[in-house]
């Protein structure tokens, strides 16, 4: 398997948390988030996958958004984490680490490909 191609259901499960983490790191916009995810080894995340996740985070009150004028284009939608988003990220990240440690405890040990 190629390093950056993960099973879709893994991506679906982790993407909201990871997108929240990227936005919590700094206020940013869609394309920059996709680039950050790719650089982190997530593979190419298409707009059609990314924006519904961002919309959902906004709906849940974890991020807010605002349109700003871009340098060359008509504007970009910037996303900012809310205090609730920061709290949720800390809580869910801790739970995620526990969860993956438990899963790893069950799995046979192999040498990582990375």
């Amino acid at each position: 398997m190629h390093d950056d191609v993960w099973p879709t259901e893994w991506l679906r499960a982790t993407l909201p948390l990871c997108v929240l983490a990227v936005v919590a790191d700094e206020e940013t916009y869609g394309y920059a988030i996709a680039q950050r995810l790719q650089a982190a080894g997530f593979g190419a995340v298409k707009g059609g996958t990314l924006y519904p996740v961002l919309n959902r985070l906004e709906q849940d009150g974890l991020v807010t958004s605002s349109w700003r004028e871009g340098a060359g284009g008509p504007g970009r939608k910037f996303f900012t984490v809310t205090p609730r988003g920061t709290a949720s990220l800390a809580e869910r990240a801790a739970a995620w680490h526990t969860f993956t440690e438990r899963a790893a405890g069950l799995l046979p040990t192999v040498r990582s490909s990375r």
Binding site: Y29, G30, G47, G48, W67, G70, G73, P74, G75
Partner: protein, 166 residues
Amino acid sequence: MTTSTDSYRRDLVLALRMGNVPPDRIGEIVAEVESHVADTGESPVEAFGPPREYAAGFARPRRAGDVVSLLVLTGFGAACGWLLATGVVGTVRGETFLGFPAWTALVLGALLWIPPLLASVRRNASIRDPRTGGFLAPPPAAVVLTMSGFLALLTLGLWVGTVLAG
């Protein structure tokens, strides 16, 4: 803006409207697509998939009130068509409509076209681009022109048909 983005916008707005997505959400979704592909250089279909499939993820169930108003407007449209046909046939053949000159049916039919026309203008006008505040759907003038033009053509067609049929 390329033609492919233009037609994607049109199809996406239509699909979102069919999916009962509120106007302000439609504006946001369309602007997100356009802003994203402006950054990546992809085509909208490459980045977001076919408009209808992308829109399906945002669809909401229609409430009873929406269904009723849709039915009422469809009823107005149907009555309008019937009155126009009756008016044209009556005028050509010199018959009366409920004791009045047949052209009164034409006028009545045209009046019944106004509620659907206003509803369409209002619905389109509320779909705005959050980046510019501009219209994302056809602006009021275009809606009025298209819908009046449709009515005029329909009347003309009925007229020609009736005359030819003798």
